[in-house]
């Protein structure tokens, strides 16, 4: 019986939250646009590759065609459809980005919480380590790691490598959040009430952290897209993959800067990157508003 009522409560609170979410989105059109863009890309990555066929065959006669019904975004240097490449590339870009964000946030969360909550020597060691990592410039570090690897990376491995550079900053931020929440008097009250450490961590501190973590999850996604496409673009990862970064590099190699015929091929992935990053940023602005407790109470 109690379980049923628990689920009912959960369900109803979820519904209220979702309603509130859309209410804020409706109020702020720019953020709503961001949400739609992100949603569109997710749909494209999820079902796009099943619908859009990608012919890998080379057909020199079809080189650098302008957009047409047959090729909505034209073709590349080998006569292959640009749109299909964009669609097929989006899946890997997004999977890796979300995986990276998940890994980064999990690692940063565990380390940040442990550091802030346990404190003492654990804190000193972990934060010294994070600080050193923070000073190492992230993209060059990625490059040096990737070049010393020989194999072609699976999305999970790729995400694991990308999260090496993302965690320190976030772990530090989470730690300082934990520390500042820990200083608040309601934690002292909870200790005084004899509540367990588990409750204090998950029942009192965590609910205050969640919005912050969620926002950083999105920031990690943005960061992961940046580095991932960058690695392909710079040529640190195999050229045969279908990825927006590969497309940009290929276009530049084909003289896209001077040859307007290549522009459709160059600008398509560029536009996608701009769009999706902008979408995430705008969406995050909406979340900021949603999580702002002051606005929340007035909704």
């Amino acid at each position: 019986m109690i379980n049923v009522s628990k689920y009912k409560r959960l369900l109803s609170s979820t519904i209220t939250n979702i309603k509130f979410f859309f209410k804020v989105l409706r109020r702020n059109r720019v953020s709503f646009a961001g949400f739609l863009i992100v949603l569109a890309f997710i749909i494209m990555a999820a079902i796009g590759p099943e619908i859009v066929q990608y012919e890998r065959g080379v057909d020199i006669r079809k080189r650098f065609l302008p957009p047409s019904w047959e090729h909505p975004l034209g073709t590349d240097y080998a006569g292959r459809d640009t749109f299909a490449q964009i669609v097929h590339g989006s899946r890997e870009v997004l999977i890796v980005a979300f995986l990276t964000a998940a890994f980064t946030t999990t690692v940063a969360f565990v380390i940040g919480i442990a550091s802030g909550f346990i404190g003492g020597k654990v804190d000193v060691v972990m934060m010294t380590f994070a600080d050193i990592f923070l000073t190492i410039p992230s993209f060059p570090l990625l490059l040096i790691i990737v070049t010393s690897l020989r194999k072609i990376l699976s999305p999970i491995e790729m995400a694991a490598i990308l999260s090496i550079v993302g965690w320190p900053a976030l772990a530090r931020a989470i730690r300082s959040q934990v520390l500042s929440i820990k200083e608040r008097e309601f934690i002292e009250s909870a200790v005084c009430l004899g509540l367990s450490k588990t409750h204090i961590l998950f029942g009192e501190i965590l609910p205050n952290l969640l919005p912050y973590i969620f926002m950083n999850l999105i920031l990690s996604v943005i960061g992961a897209i940046y580095s991932q496409v960058g690695l392909y673009f710079i040529g640190a990862l195999p050229f045969n993959a279908t990825n927006w970064g590969v497309m940009i590099q290929a276009a530049l190699n084909q003289g896209a800067l001077v040859n307007p015929r290549v522009w459709w091929y160059l600008l398509s992935p560029l536009a996608c990157i701009i769009l999706i990053q902008t979408g995430f940023i705008l969406f995050m602005h909406a979340l900021e508003e949603i999580f702002n407790p002051r606005l929340r109470t007035e909704a």
Binding site: I2, E185, S189, C192, G194, L195, G203, N208
Partner: protein
Amino acid sequence: MTETPLIEARNLSKVFAVGGGMFAKKRFIRAVDDVSLKINRGENVALVGESGCGKSTLGRLLLGLLYPTSGSVLYKGKDIWRMNEKEFKEFRRKAQIIHQDPYSSINPVRTIFQSLAPAMIQHKIVQSREEAFKRAAELLGLVGLNPPEDFLSRYPSRMSGGQMQRIILARALSVNPDFIVADEAVSMLDACLRIGALDLMLDLQKKFQHAYLFITHDLAIARYFILKGGGRIVIMYLGKIVEVGDGDSVIQKPAHPYTQALIAATPIPDPKISRERELPKLKSLDVPRLTEAIPGCKFNTRCPYSEKICAEVVPEIREVKGRLVACHFAENFI
């Protein structure tokens, strides 16, 4: 026959280290310095002192929220830091705190019910969520929030300071404590509401029979609390208890030069009286730095009556005509 005090501080000291990094020099603050104090069941003690005198630290030491540098805290005769886990858990339930700022002492992202329930459930005061809800509503009714059910589902940001203060009180009482430390519990409230909050605290004491350690910087508030609820006033200066007396005797006839100065400085809301009063007698206006070590009596640098002995020998707290005073020359003043 002396009964075992409910809670007792025995030669309690707490030293905080400030500053100090890889190369910087550490400084130490003796926030609480060799303090002994007994509080009996159901008794009220008002602890008065200026900011930085260590009164909050003493409160936290008594609650077991801080580990003492030396000395011990005894709950019903047992050292709290030598208790086994079960006993300590029980102590935690029995000793509660009320903070100054009601907003920061309740989790802003949880509803009032979510803040009240876990402690009751964890201490098995209630057996189910439903029972917790019932009891929470009952408590809110007791502190005068009606209808209670309305408040339980609210978030803290939608309530006034006065209401929040009541909720904090209800939460402290929800675990049936027998000792509550109220740390500047009413100083954030509007002046008009303060005595109302004090009255409520004392009313509930009649029902729940707990003891209060009422920490405040305001002598007038302390006096009201003690005159209305009975008990003692304790004056603290730079980590030391300087004077203890029943009722408002400390205020009517202060024995320690510091208490005298404090009382002379406290303004009185009556133009005729306040304009006739003299300035407190003090040698120096500035409070010594907390990191400074003062030999002898801590007040000797500012005391108008200080003599050679005051700068050399720490005055023991002793009984002088029914009063506890830590001054070499207490007899001259009482």
